[in-house]
Symmetry: C2
Subunit: 299 residues, 2 copies
């Protein structure tokens, strides 16, 4: 009885990490090194966030984001619109009440014109889609490509990155082809209605908890924009890992979602055998709840 | 063009608050005052969290939580196990590595013996279940009772509170009837596999963003327990609103989920008409993504 609290913890662990003890252990071949050219390091005051870009899903939008990063566009800007349970939106926030005294200059529009949307892409042979093997309410089929949660419509021959917690996408105006500089990261229950309606081009692979710590706006006031600029959390610095000196580059490996090792993880999560579960849950996977393991090495 | 950023915001607003401009406006009869006897005010260093208890789903467990609150059991304790994307667990954390030098005394076990589980309850006539009207992958039927997200199995004649972000439940040991003092609040994508496996007895109705700010543990180390006690965020104080002087009591109203006003909100969220949506999303509602409006008045 004296161990009840420990047992509580240990038991709850089972519920969370049933997928952690996979038989057999993944081999080196089951891991993919994240290309440092697609690895974004975003510093907040709470810690560093690592994001992998997915140019295979949105080449033009991903390239724009990298160009913005390399131009130090985001450094010193803020997360100006943060809605709990929904998204954290960052960038210049031009035209919002928060920045009404600091209108964007015309040069910004000239430098960073609006982009053609890349809401989805053709199903192709350049990447490997691995079905999740569970039904989904929003897409005909869901699964993974290179660790990204992906929806697929075989009839239409299209696929797209799903809005899960951690998904990175560009905000836009009412018209489709109007994204330019403002981005958001999903921080709440997956807002799947946004799938194929905005251009998603990356996902957070480490440090999402630091985005969760960002100061929130009031969704009922100015759409969640934090009107007191002093309260907006800054984007301290954003860098592409490849631009750092080799010795300063962190390295990330993502489990290959086309591997048998990942298949085994899915089976394990789908078919819960822990005795903690008094009632066996349905053998269902949610694509946004299926963790894709990430390892970090280096500084 | 100079308004692109504002437009971005305004457009994204639409995506988020399409449900906010309901026709017709809810009337006073569409709102239910939260019973101050079931209203818990939990102070963190980031802000106050308001929780509504659901004794109609778990009378014994909800009563225990109130008794613990009134005994000041949680005051000065911590959120000692916080896993990003999953749960924030609070209480004494006895037996964890973090508190290994402070074993629980036997008096705690005698004062707060383990409880019989209340994982679900009979479908009854004392409360009104309103179906969501959308399919669900985990339960035969989902909907709401008094604002709580609820699953129902008509064949078995049972219903239960669903694990959505904000759901409050007791942690337990491996055996079902082992909850005593440790609680958790869901902070990530709904962990539906926990439904009917733990006793859920409340939900956060305001201030979940403060729970999101809590210091996280490393899920790969000691099951997410924050080993450095100094880094654990404290539970500053927990109170039952009814125990405060009348003038100091906040008042919360929750939209009646059995009302036509709520039906209209559901229809509006299900059938998105905003021109922002280039592609009309499937007419699907997720029970954890259907907001139940809350109004606050008083101090």
């Amino acid at each position: 009885m004296k161990r009840i609290a420990l047992s509580c913890v240990a038991a709850a662990i089972v519920a969370f990490t049933a997928q952690a003890a996979a038989p057999p252990s993944p081999s080196p071949a089951d891991w993919r090194e994240v290309d440092p050219q697609n690895l974004v390091l975003l510093d907040t005051r709470y810690g560093q966030v690592a994001i992998e870009l997915a140019p295979e899903f949105a080449p033009v939008n991903a390239a724009r984001f990298k160009a913005l990063v390399r131009a130090h566009f985001y450094d010193g800007k803020t997360f100006y619109r943060v809605i709990d349970g929904f998204v954290a939106q960052g960038g210049i926030g031009e035209g919002t009440a928060a920045t009404k005294d600091h209108p964007k200059d015309d040069a910004t529009d000239r430098l960073w014109p609006t982009l053609k949307a890349e809401f989805d892409r053709p199903v192709g042979t350049d990447v490997t889609f691995t079905p999740l093997g569970s039904p989904d309410l929003f897409a005909p089929e869901v699964g993974h490509v290179d660790g990204f949660p992906v929806g697929r419509d075989a009839r239409e021959g299209r696929m797209w990155i799903i809005h899960c917690p951690g998904t990175l996408a560009f905000a836009r105006d009412d018209k489709p082809d109007t994204a330019s500089t403002e981005f958001y990261i999903v921080i709440g229950e997956a807002p799947r209605r946004l799938d194929r309606n905005l251009t998603a081009f990356g996902r957070v692979i480490a440090g999402l908890q630091y985005i969760q710590k960002l100061e929130r706006g009031d969704p009922d006031v100015d759409a969640g924009v934090i009107e007191d600029v002093a309260k907006q959390d800054p984007i301290l610095r954003v860098q592409i890992a490849a631009d750092l000196p080799a010795a300063a580059q962190p390295h990330f490996q993502v489990m290959r979602t086309e591997s048998q090792a990942f298949d085994a993880k899915k089976d394990e999560k789908r078919n819960i055998t822990s005795t903690f579960f008094f009632r066996k849950p349905p053998a269902i996977l949610d694509v946004c709840l299926m963790p894709v393991a990430v390892k970090r090495s280096g500084p």
